[in-house]
């Protein structure tokens, strides 16, 4: 009985934590000042949040329902492989588009220095517009 209560408590904890982390991740994404900072929220907190939720699910289905938990593990695996790569590519994209960053950011990478790009912007060779 106690065992179950504790287990339920643990599951509940992971559930709430999962929700909380997920929320915080999205909150970070919503309220940071520049794109590069916003990137941190989802990359870490959200991944963590989903991880927690999946742990809750694993505990619930694995222990209480005694069903296999491999899907959750696979999902987690996928997430942990892909989340940092997504973040990396997004950052790379942001740098390529030379998104402006908060003034207080230190370091001025080549990627964001206009003169380093070399060529002048070339107009889009688009005759498609009317």
């Amino acid at each position: 009985m106690t065992y179950y209560v504790i287990l339920e408590g643990v599951i509940a904890f992971f559930l709430v934590a999962g929700g909380a982390f997920t929320f915080i991740g999205s909150l970070g994404m919503a309220h940071f000042r520049d794109f590069y900072m916003r990137l941190h929220g989802p990359t870490k907190a959200t991944t963590m949040g989903i991880g927690s939720t999946l742990v809750a699910s694993m505990l619930y289905f694995g222990v209480i329902e005694s069903q296999p938990v491999v899907q959750e593990m696979l999902i987690t695996l996928f997430l942990f492989i892909t989340a940092p790569v997504s973040a990396h590519l997004l950052a790379k994209t942001g740098l390529h588009l030379q998104l402006r960053h908060a003034d207080k950011t230190r370091g001025k990478p080549v990627e964001l220095r206009k003169e380093e790009i070399g060529e002048k912007p070339v107009p889009h060779p688009d005759k498609g517009h009317g």
Partner: protein, 961 residues
Amino acid sequence: MTLLWIPLLTLLGVLVPALTARRGRGFCTLATVTLPAMALLLTLSQVPALLDGELPRVALSWIPSLGLDLAFRMDGLSLMFATLILGIGLLIILYAHFYLSAGEPYGRFYAYLVLFMLSMLGIVMADNLLLLWIFWELTSLSSFLLIGYWSHWTDARKGARMAMTVTGAGGLALLAGFLLLGDMVGSFDLGVVLSSADVILADPRYPVMLVLVLLGAFTKSAQFPFHFWLPHAMAAPTPVSAYLHSATMVKAGIFLMARLHPALGDSELWGWLVTLTGMTTFLYGAWFALLKTDLKAILAFSTVSHLGLVTALLGIGSPMAILAALFHILNHATFKGALFMSAGIIDHETGARELGKLGGLRRAMPITALLTTITAASMAGVPLLNGFLSKEMFFTETLDTALLGGLGWLLPVLATLGGILSVAYSLRLVHGVFFKPAKEVPPKSPHEPPRLMRAPVELLATLCVAVGLFPAALATGILDLATRAVLREPLDFHLAIWHGVNLPLVMSLAALAAGITAYGLHSNIRHFARQFAPIDARLVFEGTIQSLVARTQTLTHRLENGSLQRYMSLLLGTALLLATLGLVELPELAGDKPTQPLDAMLVLGSALMIFAALGTAITHRYRLISLLMLSVVGLVVSLTFARFSAPDLALTQLSVEVVTMILLMLALFFLPQKTPQESSASRIIRDLVLAGTLGMVVASLNYAVLTREIDSIAGFFIANSVPGGGGHNVVNVILVDFRGFDTLGEITVLALAGLAIFKLLNRLRLFMPHSDGEGRVWSPDRYPMILTTVSQALLPLALLVAAFIFLRGHNMPGGGFIAGLVTAVALILVYMARGVEWTQNRLDFPYQPVAIGGVAVATLTGLGSWLFGRPFLTSAFGHFHIPLVGDIELATAMLFDLGVYLAVVGATLMILANLGKLTTPHRPTKEAPAVSRKETPAPPSEEAPLILDTEKSQRPSKEKA
């Protein structure tokens, strides 16, 4: 049966000239006349039967449901006309033998001529109204060919078209009239129609029907105001004019009126319409005949005039008038045929047919002069010639008729006036050509034509004189038979030259005298007529047609302005209208099924979807943003499917959504990044209203269905899925088994899409923008290393997942389709991460065979059931015990699903990879040259690997990479 041979021989006769044209003209002419001559003999062989009071008839059933039989009759009227048609036709062929010049394709000419002969025969012999109509229209067609015979000549082309348009239109009216007539009497059988006058006259539709039928008759017989095509038909070679426009075709209308007279003729309406039209035409034609200077034009207008005369007689409609009409038809055929041929001879020998250019020919062509004088005199109504007899009968009838009541005196006066004009133009014709001194030297030195060319004219002129002198002996027989056919009873009559001195004789003599005077005053008359602006019917007609065409073009362009937006709004508007009509019939939108409560997840989900959908629409000018919004919609749709118990749908929607997204982005690269602002506010409002209301209708329909209980066939599937289909996932069992046929069609569509897209990508010329919409050059990093590395880690994992999803599909959510998409997407990731070249080297299977192979596997699975004597796609499954391994279930449905898997992988890769290849040297070029025959855009070079604007858009990174 003999009767059938008359048209049949003529029909065969159409082929003869075409077959014998190579063997020389003489042979061809002889061969051509053979069959019609036989037909003529056959026709004449019917005379004894007719004299015995029989009605020879033959009928073969053709289209019973239409009441159209292949029925022919040979009564007196038919006999008279058939003899005319065949007899004069033979003379014309003979004449044409000499008339046509050496280089002309006479075989074709003869064929057309015989075809025309056939159609005329058909008209006069038809014993079924619809059959009559068929031949009627056939005369229009064959005369079109004949008039347009000298097709390089503008006048001929236009004349032919005008004739066909007018007579064709009349033919259509005639069809309508006949259909009405047939409807009234319940049969198209001529015998029935002719004996149902009382029914017909009593029918309220009689006036409409009569007008329609008369329209047909009047157009064909060139009655005012439809006469205008006839003079322009004179662009035809003279034999054609002589045949069609004097002896036969124009008589078809007359024939029709005579033929239907017993059924339709006994009404005031008939009398008024026909008589007045006839009289008008009579005078109108005569007047213009006097004014024209071209020989054939004079003859043409005189023909119009004489046709009017006959029409007027038919309108008067008394037995004697009918007799006179028929007699005049015969006489007109002889003298006008001869005159046309004479005109042709003159034209042929002098090269001119303008009165102004001709003159004094009596010395060079004395015999022709004599023949022409005789026949023209007959036309003028000079006593002792056949024309005089029938014209005098005409005068008699105008005096006797009760038509027009108190204005009855008008008819004889007008008739006399017409007679005067006839005399004047006949005189002018003869005098101007043969007796008046020539003003100019004609182009050719005139001389008599070949003996045989003149022979037909001589024959006809002889007939004019002979009948004129001995009418009783020569004409009574045939006229007796013909009138009996029209009046349906024998008519007691006596044709004689002399009836004593009576009013008609006075009218005739007066006409002669006044006619001569009128010719004397001829130049004054012409001077008077010049005050009226001449109306060239052809110009008017062509102008009308052209302005009609121009107007139709404007209309078409206004309606079909090439704007998809309009077409789409019309489609949606129609849908809106019709669906609304259904909806308003619902007594209550909400049904009686209780609704379910809301929860936060649903509300947020809906809000999300609505936001995203609105976002997609609002941001549509910023295409990538719009695309991201669309992606959100797709995601939420799949979550919705999951929420409402459709895991398979959720999986499918997800994978399709991602593939669609990739596809749209691949395409977006080559399209403008933004849509210009070009919709006006009113347009946007219109679209919003249209889309919004249709959206409301869809929502209402959705709600109406959702709130009503459904008694569906679904229970069967749930109950039979495991026992009948061997699978626990009912949706999958429906897809691969219960409704496997749908799925087979669906993968065929997918494979077809791959094939079609391959076609589209072939030799596609595209811009490859070397900068994005904002003018930034692209990042030089083509294959980011981290992505590359991760893609190779994900591939085996994804394939494993695909295998898993595939294998469990029959019992759990999944199946071939989703597995196929997962596989394809994983491979696309490799393409994205490593590029086409690298991937292509490792993924060297051709996609089309895989896609088609999938369809093949599915089809073969279906065909396999035939081996067991079961219908296509019957599934089988079983549990097999394999030692050590244990129980496994195998189902043919899995094989089918494998086909689906292969088709999806193949088709998706065919689409995405080929599209990706566009910008690489691997772009698909295997397709044969796609240069359409219509437009030949010069391809830059056959070998060029890229069809791009290479100088400008070659990006710097190309070399680096």
